[in-house]
């Protein structure tokens, strides 16, 4: 009984010692690097650089506009 208690108390003390030893090392991880405006930047980049699908859609719309302009009813000769 006493032997077991001694073993448990010593292992707890060892754990505490390891905790103390690792405390300053853990504090070294308190600081980090991360661009704060990452979300803003990504949103901006989306605005500046549209995706391929957006580009395709825009060109498709332009093409439709051009076609509709070229086929205006007043320009069609109904001879």
């Amino acid at each position: 009984m006493e032997k077991g208690f001694k073993m448990v108390s010593n292992s707890l003390l060892t754990l505490f010692l390891f905790g103390l030893l690792l405390l300053p090392i853990v504090s070294m991880g308190f600081i980090g690097f991360k661009p704060i405006n990452q979300n803003v930047l990504s949103a901006q980049s989306e605005q500046i650089c549209p995706t391929l699908e957006q580009l395709k859609e825009e060109t498709h719309l332009k093409e439709i506009e051009e076609t509709t302009e070229s086929t205006k009813p007043e320009l069609i000769n109904l001879k």
Partner: protein, 187 residues
């Protein structure tokens, strides 16, 4: 109930742990103010916006931690070489007692338990600094400072331990190799 050595080690580990933690936090704030670094404090800790700022602050802050450890180790090494009770000269001992500073003279148990803890800290910082340098989070010259401090302090401690072992060997009772009288007794 508790192991005497473990209690001594825990006792000796509290002060450097708090000192290093305080050094890290203080130096981080001072260095970031000195370099006008932009940072943000949130739940994850102190986050820097600029990578170069982070590199500077992290490197100098680690350097301050190494310097504090070097000062502590130097103090322990001086104690082990000059104020060690096993090899202090009687004249110098008397002088220290006359100056009313007998606490400077310490036993091997005190000095070596302190040395073990402070050396463990420098080794742990060396390991972390190596990884940080490997991943480009620390200037490589800071790692060199850590390596030099670790090597010198370890070498000096080993020298003192060797000296201590020699002294203890000298104190051992030496028996004559001639055993003819012992044999006669047996007869």
């Amino acid at each position: 109930m508790f192991s005497r050595i473990l209690i001594k080690l825990v006792d000796e580990a509290i002060f450097p742990a708090i000192l290093l933690l305080a050094t890290r936090l203080t130096s981080m704030l001072v260095v970031s103010k000195f370099f006008h670094a932009n940072y943000e404090i949130n739940a994850n800790g102190v986050i820097f916006v600029n990578l170069s700022d982070y590199l500077k602050v992290n490197s100098y802050s680690t350097l301050f931690m190494i310097l504090i450890l070097a000062i502590g180790l130097l103090f322990i090494i001086i104690k082990s070489f000059v104020f060690h009770d096993s090899h202090i000269s009687p004249g110098f001992s008397a002088k220290i007692y006359s100056l009313k500073m007998p606490s400077l003279i310490q036993s091997s148990f005190n000095i070596y338990s302190q040395g073990t803890i402070w050396l463990s800290y420098i080794y742990l910082i060396l390991i972390v600094a190596s990884f940080m340098t490997l991943f480009g989070m620390l200037y490589s010259w800071v790692l060199f400072v850590a390596i030099i401090t670790t090597v010198i302090s370890t070498a000096l401690f080993v020298m003192d331990i060797e000296h201590e072992v020699k002294i203890n060997k000298g104190k051992e009772i030496e028996y004559d190799s001639d055993s003819k009288y012992l044999e006669r007794e047996e007869e």
